[in-house]
Symmetry: C2
Amino acid sequence: MQPFRVAIAGLGTVGAETARILMTEAELLGARAGRPVELKAVSARDRSRDRGVDLSGVEWEDDAAALAARDDVDCVLELIGGSEGVAYDLVLGAIRSGKSVVTANKALIAHHGAEIAELCESHDVGLGYEAAVAGGIPIIKSVREGFSGNRIGRIYGILNGTCNYIMTVMRETGRPFEDVLADAQKLGYAEADPSFDVDGIDAAHKLAILSALAFGHHVDFKNVHVEGIRHVSPLDISFAEELGYRIKLLGIAEETGDGVQQRVHPCMVKAETPIGQVEGVFNAVVAEGSAVGTTLSYGRGAGAGPTASAVLADVIDLAACRRVPVFGLPSSKLSPGRTAPVTALSGCYYLRLMVIDRPGVLADVTAVFRDHGVSVEAMIQRARNPDEAVPLVLTTHETPETAIRTSLEELVKLDAVLEEPRLIRIEEF
Amino acid sequence: MQPFRVAIAGLGTVGAETARILMTEAELLGARAGRPVELKAVSARDRSRDRGVDLSGVEWEDDAAALAARDDVDCVLELIGGSEGVAYDLVLGAIRSGKSVVTANKALIAHHGAEIAELCESHDVGLGYEAAVAGGIPIIKSVREGFSGNRIGRIYGILNGTCNYIMTVMRETGRPFEDVLADAQKLGYAEADPSFDVDGIDAAHKLAILSALAFGHHVDFKNVHVEGIRHVSPLDISFAEELGYRIKLLGIAEETGDGVQQRVHPCMVKAETPIGQVEGVFNAVVAEGSAVGTTLSYGRGAGAGPTASAVLADVIDLAACRRVPVFGLPSSKLSPGRTAPVTALSGCYYLRLMVIDRPGVLADVTAVFRDHGVSVEAMIQRARNPDEAVPLVLTTHETPETAIRTSLEELVKLDAVLEEPRLIRIEEF
């Protein structure tokens, strides 16, 4: 049978590992694909760097875009990254020249997924992006194919290993965010510019993709509500533990009846739930289907090996001519983004105020809640420090997000309330 | 596009639920398959029973085998069960007449998988059996496609929800096996004849399938070492808890270098590991891949909805012409079963003896271990009951299975040792 000829654009750790496996496991991959899978060409900025893999028999292009034009390549692996520029041009160029594409680029799919899906259909090529969400966990395949007999009601998960690692270490050591982030950067778990990770954007890219797949709508990144973890303090982590919770940065997409609500923010989840048990750099995704019920998929969400694993699975599927519409349905059957705003949310909340420790403060605070119909479930004010700041922690029964936000606006006006209050949603799964 | 016409053989809870979803979600399933999916014919013993689904527009065959012969059917769903007889004849008949097949029948695949795989190849038809292992969890798809860029080193899991439910309730209530089994039978979690479940056979069927897929060998059920849970006592569960373990019936398939070792038996696993946290009727499978690292998939392993979910995913894949060789590789490339015997095992062990509480017993017991080179890690003899039977619990450091078995043979000869000793393997994941 004809070999399936692939080209890799981008030889960072993921690209180099993918190339290495393609070279060293060619026989196994070929047997699984039903035809030889050949690495034909590569492109990267620096030709001379030692990447631990012998690419001497492989064609080299200085310009990634040239890979799309080669007529000896069937499939382009875009492992450059970034939602615009070289990656965007390469992916669209490859599709337009009739090549299938595999990408690990969550930003690209989150921003341009709709256009790319349509282009794949009009050029009759396949696109794999398993590596874009939750690294080695085959969650795209699970949602797109494994749960195809279901209607998904909710899908949520820990989609960013960097954030989960930082919060795990913060909980274990009691150290503040900035310190742990600096260590994570030294260890290579966080980028020099950490904002994509810690501000929740990376998780939001992934959530936008999962939501589109799960609910059959056009990918709708701009309507994902995003909060990061910079404001999560050791104090909140320790109160969470006391209340039986762990703080996790979750991406949650949910069918509300008024549309799909997509949000990424720190959540308190019960420590003993499967999602609460996911620690360190691991990712996990929970999908709730009409037939299958609750499922969870767990694994490494990043790193050269797990990402290469996902890339190669896509390559083998494409080599074996197993194709699925980009978002599980033909573009014409995807619904427009039906967004339910996060202000429509109703749930339980954790609130930490820093208040002056003096008589009457609690009465003032609880009066605000009473006036806005917010029902308090528990209250902790353990430290004593007369006339100085102490933390006052409250958790609420189910209450509309609007009510808790209006309460907050009133609370900050109180003389006794110092600092910005900290609000964290509690998710009962 | 031409509709994909399916027939269902067997209208038990799974068959009826599959039929219901095919009828009520036809539009969604068709959109996902890229062509209409039509339920054309069914077969079941009792035509008159109310199954909660209107089958008036569907053809009825009294003889399941007749479904294989119909020329208006593209795919037969075998939901009858059993490794021989009607199910076997139907599946082989359908393949021989050029129809694709979807089955939930683990016994059939475990016993006849090799023959069926070859027949599928020679007749160029696809076979789906996602529902045969771990119910709604898409673990066949994950191993066969999602991890195709990996070599699997080990795959293990909780593959029988009935056993896991029974042991969870035993731990929570301290009640004995027989009592909890009787309740599980009343609740419909266990069959009237529970031996397939509680003796480990059902888990062994599933493990044999997973092992063949993961390691690319011919399915080799006869070489699965099988022990069930009948001997697990509340005493052992409580000692396990004290030692930080949970007892789980695991299926484990592992590449040992001398072949693949397949075994199903009760194991002690650390309570805080992901697999140790899986409780009740849930299943979970851990796959360890060369690139992806450790992954875990969790969900409901049985029941009408989860099983129908898996069946329908296979139907949609086949309708969309997405086909994978039955065991991930062409039959000609599967290796013969390369079995490593369980006696080659080396590991840590939990051992409970019932001994007479009198001086000198411990010296006699530990002398046996010394003589066989078994290194004791911990010992518990809490109860005091002079000259009566008390439990003596020991855990070992890593030791060959042969050494512990020879030690056991010596121990039962001691006067002070009453009853059959209980041996449970400790797995450190």
